[in-house]
Every structure is written in C-alpha cells, then in structure tokens.
Symmetry: C2
Subunit: 457 residues, 2 copies
C-alpha cells in the first residue's frame, strides 16, 4: 500500500480540515516531551472533530492495517505519543469542549482534548473543583491525563486521575464505540472497564469522552516546611505524618534539588539540609491548625532541624513556588532525564539513599523531588547536552533508578506512564504471568495490534 | 465424565481436608443470601488452604471442563456465589489469614477468606484504619467484598472497596498465577488489572491475596438528623450538602422505612416525614462543627421541618442504630426483595418518586433507604412469604425499580453486584458494545468459560 492509498482512503471518509499531510506539521506531531525516547515518522495527521470521525479513521486504519498513535496535548514525559514509522497520528486536540457541568450531579462531561485547566475552570464556575493536578495541568489535556493515569500534588489526599473518572466513551480499534461506567458515584454493574482504559496509553482504544467526578472546593490550605539533616529522618517524618493525618500535599526535595532552586532564584531555603519537606493541610479552621501541629511534631520527632508553619496564603504560595521551580531549576543546569518511580511509603529513605549511591557510582548529578506522601519520586539526572559520554552515563543512571525502585518493591512509573521510554522494564515489574495477561487483553481488544504499537509492553 | 472421576482427579492433587462431598455440607454451600436467585447443585466442595491448592483445583477443572463457583463467606445479596449444577464450589473460607500489616507502608496483605472485621481489627492494632464498611462487615469476607466491589456507609467520603486495593494475587482459569498492582500508593505501569478483577464476581479469576490500603483513623464523628415533608426536599438537601462539604456519611430513610424502624423498636423518629436524612462529619474539632452547621443550613434551606445536631457520641450512635435497623425492621414485616440501584446525585428525588409510584401501581410495600450521598439506594419490596401472587408482584416491582434507575441514567447495582439476580438487565445498562467488550475480555481470560458461568452477563 502506498502512502497515497492511505491518504486517499482517509480523505474519502473525513472532511479536509481533519486531515493533514504537510511535512512541517507532521514533524511537529512526531513526539511528546520525552526527548530521549525513540520517535518514528508519521504518514499523516488526523485531527477529528467528533467521535464519528475517530470511528471513520480507525475503520480505515483497521482495513489497511496502519498503526494509529493517539495524541493529546503532546506534554507526555514517556514517549507514549511518539509516532512510529508510517503511522496515523490521531490528535484529539480539536475535540476540546467541556460539554456539560452538572452542579447537582457533581460531574462534568468533557472531550479528551479539553485542557485540565479548562475543566478546572468550568467546574469552578459552578463552585466546584476538579481535583487532579499534574504539574502540567495548565497545558496537558484530559485525554493525556487519562491515558497515563496522571497524578500530581493533590493525589496524596484526593487520588489520581483514575479516581476522578465516572465513565468513558471510547472507540475501539475496529471503529466500534463503547461506553463504560456512567454518571453515578458507585457502580458494580459489570467489569471495571473505565479503569482498564485509564492508564492504557492509547493501546486499547481512543477515549472520546469522559465523565469526571467533581468535588466541593476545599478550605484554604495552611503550609509547613521542615528541613532534615538526614534522608532517613525525612523518610521517617513522611511515614509518621501519613500514619496520623491526611495532608493535602506532602512533597520532598533533596539537597541537589534545593541547591538548584536556590541558584535559580534565591528563596532562602536551607541548602545544607539533606532534604526539605513541604506539607499542607486543607482541613480548614481549627482542624487545619491541629493537622499542621501534628505534622510539625512528626517532623521534630524525626529530627528536623527547622520547622515553620504558616497560615498566611502568600507565604504558603512562596513555598509552593519553590517546589514548582524544582524541575525548571534542574533543567537550567543541563540536559535532564526526568524519572518517575514509586516505592512503598516505608521505603522512601531507602530509595533516596539508592539514588545518591547511583549518582556517586555513575558520576552524575541527580536531583530528587516529588510526591513523598505517595512514595512517588522524580529523580532527575542532569548532564551536559553536548557530551555523548555524559548522555550514556545519564541513561545508565536512569535505568539504575528503575531497578532500584523495583528492588524496593516499587514501580517503574507512578504517574507518567511507561510509553516508549520504560517499555523494556515493564516485564521485570509484571513478571511473566502479568505480561501474558496484558497480551491477552490487548489481543482481545485490538487483535490487529494497530493501536499505539511499541508502547507500554 | 462421572462425578467420581472429578472427585478422584481432585483427590489426586488436594489433601483430604480440602475436599468435601458430604451432601449436607454441599447443600449448605449452594447459595448466598439472595433467596430468590436460582441455585444449582454442586458436585463437590473444595476448601483450599493455599494458592497452590487453588491452582491445583483450577487445573483439574480446566482439564475436565467443570464449572467453578468461587465463594467467600456466603453473605452476598445477588446470588453471585450460587452453585450451578455439577460445579465445584471453591470456598476461600480457610484462606483467612491477615498475613501482614505494615504500619509505615500503610498497607495490609490479607487472604480472601479474612473477614472485613478481622482486617479492620488488625489495622486498628497498628493504630490504622481499613475504611470500607459494607453493612455486612462483621461477617462478610474481603474476597467477597472484592468480588462485588462492595460499598458501605463510609464510601461517600472514603470510596468503595476497589479504592482501597493496591494489588492482588489471582489464579486464572488455567491455574496460572498473576500479580497485579503492588504496594505503592500510585502505579501507572501497565493496565489497571487490579480494578478489572475487583467487581468481576469470580468470572475472571480467583483472588487469592490482596494488598489493601490503610488510612489514619479519622477523628470522632458528629451527627445530624433532619426530617423532610417531601422527597424532593430531601433530594435537594443531599445535592446541596454534597456540593459544599464532604460528609463522612449521608444516609436516607423514606417514610415506609422509618415506620418499620419505629414499629420494630420505638426510637422517637418522625413517622410523618416523607424522608429522614442522617449525616455525619468526621472532619474533627471546629471544622467538624462547621461542616455540620453547613449541612444543617442546607437541610433547612431545602425545607426540613426538623434538624438536630449532636456531637455526643452516644446520641450519634443511637441515630446510627436507627439506620442500621432499616433492613432488619423491614424484614420483620415479611419476606423481602432487597434492591440496590444507583442514580446520579441530582436524580435521587426522582428515583424515590418512581419507587413510590411502582409501590402504588404494583400494590406492594416498598421501604427505601440507603447511601444518599452516593445516589445508591436500597428500595426493599416487602411481601407475604406464603402468597405466590404477592411474590410475583414483588418480583415485578423489583424489576420495575431496575428499569426506573436505568431510565434516570443510573445503574442496576451500586455495591451488591449483578450475580445471578440481575443478569438479565446488564445488557440494558451496558448496551451492545459494552456487552461485546465483556465477552471479549471473558474470552481472553477464561476461554473455556469455567469460572462462575451464568453470572454477571
């Protein structure tokens, strides 16, 4: 089959504005933000405006056995949206409407291309809150958030993206449409298919609509910062906090990260601490004060050398700003390989120690920050972009971190997904039985294997 | 194949204490608590003591093409554990150990036969809390809770059983073992298989171990009761409460239920109200007081004729007692058909009105109570056990209620599962595409169809 056949077949079922073959546009849709993951060259870009157009495109792809790579806002960090040679890139960017916000039903119905920020804004108009807040919330799409089961800072109290999904509409590889779940808060009717599509990174179907759970807006948060002379102390503080209260945020930055943030813009952080913890409570009122006091006590008992609490919003925002600068500040120091691993809560200090050892053994700089309250950390390898040997060392360190997480009973990805980047490691995590089950399900839903091949497993 | 062949094959791979053929024991393992669901006659009861024994039994079942009906504590309400003729009943009751409670990791590892109450107790010993609380928590097993994705009273704030599961071990139909998820709070590695097994009612595999998420124990709850002259008023109060705070419990009883409770044991409830709401906050301290005040204001604005708040534990417990008596009190009045439907939060009043109309049209008594904050209600048809015509009318009303829930955009089951009882209705809810997807997944995981046939779909 020639390239022309594919384009002709698509043109026969799609309006012209939904079909793009311009080389520059294709080039701009080749990859996501995972700079070091492989990416092929697509044949054509399809930009459907409706579920029916997604169906039409998938029917053509099935008939001609052409791979389809679904794509949201392109902000992914694992190469899950990277093209494979000769594929159709299926961008959901035009299907970006918030179709409905039902205040009394406490849900929103949205198209996959809607940005997370747009959903938050639409919910806020009704006095409600869409909780999931990946760091990319201002520029990532709901479809991408669903594809990777994206996390964020508030997960420690409010759960990940999958916890906020009531139902989905998806188009399968053969072009048929299925609906999962619904608009009810609870549902025990049939299999948990909603959660099967969430996190499947476009390999089982193309999500064309999502019904998302909304919440009442929580009270204003109060903030705590604590610095620890040892990683073990910080790890103990995290587990003791989690065993006694449910913070609305519990983040950690190690020394390398704190120093990067300080050299980026002086924030007055303790550059000699082994780790800083940043915690918030949105319990509100006296309970918020009490939760903060209990967290402060846990930090002190774990050996914190400095603990400060603030109910002042501006002060809290400044501390949050320091945390948000973690990755940009590390990026400023060189090229980066941003990792995303999870360990059981009790093993956070062990993970941090393992990362320090890897940095020393491989002779690379690694700054580690992340969602300590979930045991989900982002060790970030920083290296010289123009030094091929340094890239090799960085890649080796990146892989070492994955193995360290697995050795601690953890996961190779907590919130970014497997994509193309970590595919070689999934088998190590799942084992033979788990991998076989993945193949069985993939075979049942996408027997021709056209959906996002070469990703996940 | 004769019955003897099956028993002989099982006896060759299982110790004698794991194999039961005694007719009285088999009879006692024929059905769960869904009195009106069909149940067949099993050939043999297998009571494995280990995952290896589950594997051995399933290998025999696969080789001989014998259906297997997994069974927990037998407290199910949809006939999901009801035998089919000639089957192996696989009781997980002996695999009832709490294997590990990791206080710092905030998880417990348990066998499926462990009672929910035992898991709660083991968590409490470490100062932690296992949240899910189906009404049957004292006598239902974790395996059964997982199979139906059981709910309860605290779900409105803390989620259903599936929300508390970090990972599973399951044995597939061919006897192979798979592990899903893990011990981390977040995990984006591969498909959401944990949530695929949860709620699959023993049709995809036999869960042999679960890693459950634990939480810090919440503060003591404060309690509010409000009575409404109209169903619409109660429905509005529920949606307004849910839009402003997150109660730790939000239950409703309609007039028929309140009257049944009052005639069971006089509690001083308002027998003229159209509905009573019972709400709790466990936010603690001043925030708990504030949440209760906001809920009281929402009730008053929605036309409540009586609102009382109590921070007194004994008083709160007395109100909870009234709610717990709802089903026993209705059962006292005759035979019952207990339904379990869910609707979007905005449609609760519509559901209650529809149920009233069904009761009137069918000439039956229906008491409705349930988890209003989740839109999950239990309309309970009460009828004369010795009157065949009354049973027919009750069954017709039961089916009408399912149709009414579907017409309101709801679900035929919020927490009890489909089982054998509601199987004819699943297709109406899922549609052709959804049902086809169920068959595809079932075919991929259990190609011989030996696992709990005739259940769910």
């Amino acid at each position: 089959m020639s390239e022309t056949d594919l384009v002709r077949a698509l043109a026969a079922v799609l309006p012209p504005e939904s079909l793009v073959t311009d080389a520059d546009v294709l080039e701009a849709h080749r990859r996501d933000q995972a700079q070091w993951a492989p990416a092929g060259v697509p044949r054509v870009l399809v930009r459907p405006a409706s579920t029916a157009e997604v169906q039409a495109a998938l029917r053509v792809a099935s008939a001609l056995r052409v791979p389809v790579v679904p794509r949201g806002a392109g902000s992914g960090l694992s190469g899950g949206a990277n093209a494979v040679d000769g594929c159709i890139v299926l961008s959901l960017a035009r299907m970006n409407r918030v179709l409905e916000v039902d205040r009394r039903g406490m849900f929103a119905v949205v198209q996959p291309g809607a940005l997370n920020a747009a959903v938050k804004a639409a919910a806020a108009e009704q006095g409600l809150w869409y909780a999931p807040d990946p760091a990319s919330w201002e520029f990532s799409s709901i479809g991408g958030n669903l594809a990777t089961n994206a996390g964020g800072l508030c997960c420690v109290k409010y759960g990940v993206t999958g916890d906020a999904v009531l139902g989905l509409e998806a188009v399968l590889a053969d072009g048929s449409v299925v609906r999962t779940g619904g608009r009810t808060m609870k549902n025990s009717a049939g299999y948990g298919l909603t959660r099967l599509f969430v996190g499947s990174e476009g390999t089982l179907g193309v999500i064309t609509e999502a019904t998302l759970k909304l919440r009442p807006r929580p009270p204003k948060a109060t903030t705590l910062v604590a610095s620890f002379p040892t990683l073990v102390g910080a790890g103990v503080a995290v587990t003791e906090i989690m065993a006694s209260v449910r913070p609305s945020l519990l983040e950690l930055m190690d020394r390398a990260t704190v120093r990067a943030v300080e050299s980026f813009g002086s924030m007055g952080l303790d550059v000699d601490a082994a780790a800083l913890l940043l915690a918030r409570s949105d319990a509100g009122g006296g309970q918020g004060v009490e939760e903060l006091a209990r967290m402060a006590a846990a930090c002190e008992a774990a050996g914190a050398t400095f603990v400060a609490q603030s109910a002042d919003e501006a002060e809290g925002e400044l501390l949050m700003q320091a945390r948000r600068l973690a990755y940009p500040a590390l990026e400023k120091q060189g090229a980066t390989l941003l990792d995303d691993v999870g360990v059981p809560l009790s093993r956070i200090a062990d993970l941090l120690a393992a990362v320090e050892q890897i940095a020393s053994e491989r002779g690379v700089l690694i700054g580690t920050f992340g969602h300590a309250g979930d045991g989900n950390m982002h060790p970030t390898v920083v290296f010289d972009r123009n030094d091929a040997v340094a890239l090799e060392r960085a890649r080796a360190a990146f892989d070492d971190i994955l193995r360290a997480a697995l050795a601690l009973g953890g996961t190779i990805t907590g919130e970014h997904g497997v994509g193309a980047l970590k595919r070689p490691f999934l088998g190590e995590q799942l084992g033979h039985g788990g991998l076989r089950l993945h193949h069985a399900i993939k075979g049942a839903l996408d027997p021709l294997g056209i959906l996002n091949p070469g990703k996940v497993f």
